[in-house]
């Protein structure tokens, strides 16, 4: 656990980088520091490993005041990843990853073993072990940076815009891998970004900072989006705050409606009645095994449903998908609803726009 207790950093030239920050980073969680450029994110992060010395307040790591630990000692327990990666250009990939093990005096065999494991963990092929950093792609270098920071399995990781220098596709993949990795390793992570979407995606909690390192709000992503503390936070979250929030809520949070369901054996008469009671001009066709057959508009129906030309829902959702995915399914279907299927592909019901907006209101 990392605690900031009224921590302030005033630089020699009088600039206040961080102003009276009180914040707790719980064990095993990802806390994202987010805010506009120059608001003090990096300063906040670097005070944790004393690359920047606080000028006021108390900062503790696992209960220990950082000012009482020698910087090299402190830093070897704290992994560090930055945007520019900062790999050592004169050392091979394996040597880069072995940096901290070597510093703390691991023997050769143990180090080699660890390097091998880590390369696999971050998805680097064995073949790059003896290459130099300039021979790798940007995404690969970023992975080396993460592996190097994880080398001695430090309980804490500091990550300063770690995926900022790679293209959006690679970034998205690295984010996914990072989240999967974090599920296994459960590090206490301070993650800095200026990108609110990345913050929402990565953070268990988000600290929004404004100019001068002032903490505007500290909450989990959903509460932040649901209830911004002030105008600054609302502005920073952006106009699509509602949509971003939908991305965080699973479909299972709303109870699906049964929907205007008919069976293939029904005819136009049954269908019209079902549709009328639902206020629609279409019906969903579901067979005896609860398998979804499609939907059909009353205007295109005469006689038996089984003989009708059924239309398919292009998209469907499951309980673990987000409401944003459900909304997307709605706007891409002429029916204006999303169908929810079970994991086995059986029909569970429909989700309407009313259900969704009721949830986020």
């Amino acid at each position: 656990m990392i605690t900031f207790d009224h921590v302030t950093k005033r630089f020699d030239d009088g600039t206040v980088g961080v102003d009276d920050l009180t914040l707790e980073v719980p064990e095993g969680e990802v806390v994202v520091l987010v805010g506009p450029s120059g608001c003090g994110k990096t300063t906040t992060m670097r005070m944790i490993n004393r690359m920047i010395q606080p000028t006021g307040g108390t900062l503790t790591v696992d209960g220990q005041d950082v000012m009482t630990v020698s910087p090299p000692q402190l830093r070897r327990r704290i992994g560090y990843v930055i945007q520019q990666v900062g790999l050592f250009p004169h050392r091979t990939i394996a040597e880069n990853i072995a940096t901290v093990p070597e510093l703390v005096g691991w023997d050769k065999a143990r180090t080699q073993e660890r390097v091998k494991t880590l390369m696999a963990t971050v998805g680097l092929p064995d073949s790059v072990a003896n290459r130099y950093p300039h021979q790798l792609s940007g995404g690969q270098r970023q992975r080396v940076g993460v592996a190097r920071a994880l080398a001695v399995d430090p309980p804490i990781m500091l990550m300063d815009e770690p995926f900022g220098a790679v293209d959006p596709i690679v970034r998205s993949r690295l984010q996914d891998e990072f989240l999967r990795l974090q599920l296994q390793v459960r590090k206490t992570i301070v993650f800095v970004t200026h990108d609110i979407d990345e913050a929402i995606r990565m953070g268990d909690r988000i600290a929004i900072l404004s100019e001068g390192g002032k903490l505007e709000q500290y909450d989990d992503p959903e509460r932040l989006l649901a209830d911004p503390a002030n105008e600054f936070v609302a502005d920073f979250l952006g106009a699509e705050r509602g949509l971003k929030r939908l991305a965080l809520i699973p479909v299972s949070e709303v109870s699906a409606e049964p929907g205007p369901v008919v069976s293939p054996d029904d005819d136009r008469g049954n269908a019209a009645e079902v549709a009328r009671s639902y206020g629609t001009d279409w019906v969903v066709v579901v067979d005896e095994q609860r398998r979804l057959r499609g939907w059909v508009s009353l205007h295109e129906l005469d006689g038996r449903i089984a003989d009708a030309n059924l239309r398919q829902f292009a998209l469907s959702v499951e309980s673990t998908d987000s409401l944003r995915a459900a909304l997307n399914a709605m706007v891409t279907s002429r029916t204006g609803v999303a169908v929810r299927l079970s994991e086995g592909g059986l029909y569970e019901g429909i989700i309407t726009q009313e259900l969704v907006s009721k949830e986020i209101r």
Binding site: M51, R75, Y80, G86, P89, T99, H134
Partner: protein, 222 residues
């Protein structure tokens, strides 16, 4: 080309050279000794100064200013002017030679250290390197190409300057010049020049080879 070669053949007395091979050897060794000592001592002085400047960047201006002033003293004046202080020993040619290397060596060593990317230095710091270890294991290895580039310039310019010390009783292969001037005889003059150029080229290539050996990571990079 053929014409020039013909002229050289006419003015160069190969027989004379054959009779003076011993001189060629002694003068060359003296040249190498003076150059090696000058650049070596120059580096031993410049290196700590450069580290100090790296640590306290405010010193850079004054230090470069001083080295620059020393560099602009006319060489002849310095060589002759120093005799009353240093006598006739090897210190007399060596002191000015060392002084002239300082500007280049200090500047290149500082620039070499400054050329290390700041994200690399920061990463080293964040990994838990002490200042000393970071200097030895990260900054100096990465500064090596620029530092050796400085040694190459200093060495080549010192090899040229050594010939001038003939005026104060030294001179390396420059001693042939005196012979040539005294007797209005072209062969020793041309021999001195050729040897001096040859020494420069060999020294430069050796240092280049050393640089490539010392920086295996940079191979095939450019």
């Amino acid at each position: 080309m053929i014409h020039a070669a013909g002229v050289v053949a006419q003015v160069v007395d190969t027989e004379w050279i054959g009779r003076h091979l011993d001189d060629v050897r002694t003068y060359t060794l003296e040249h190498l000794l003076l150059t090696g000592l000058a650049v070596g001592i120059g580096f031993v002085v410049a290196f700590p100064v450069a580290l100090l400047v790296q640590r306290y960047p405010r010193l850079y201006g004054p230090v470069l200013g001083l080295a620059g002033v020393l560099f602009t003293i006319p060489s002849l004046a310095l060589f002759v002017g120093i005799i009353p202080f240093t006598g006739i020993g090897i210190a007399t040619p060596l002191t000015p030679l060392v002084v002239y290397t300082l500007l280049i060596l200090v500047r290149n060593t500082v620039e070499g250290l400054r050329s290390v990317p700041s994200d690399v230095v920061e990463a080293a710091e964040a990994m838990g390197y002490s200042r000393r270890r970071r200097l030895l294991r990260v900054e100096l290895p990465l500064a090596t190409p620029v530092i050796i580039a400085g040694l190459r310039i200093a060495t080549v310019s010192t090899i040229g300057l050594v010939t001038i010390t003939v005026l104060i009783g030294w001179g390396g292969v420059g001693r042939f010049f005196l012979d040539g001037f005294a007797r209005r005889f072209a062969t020793p003059l041309l021999l001195g020049i050729a040897l001096s150029v040859l020494l420069s080229v060999v020294a430069d290539f050796s240092l280049l080879a050393l640089q490539r050996l010392a920086t295996p990571w940079a191979r095939g990079r450019r």
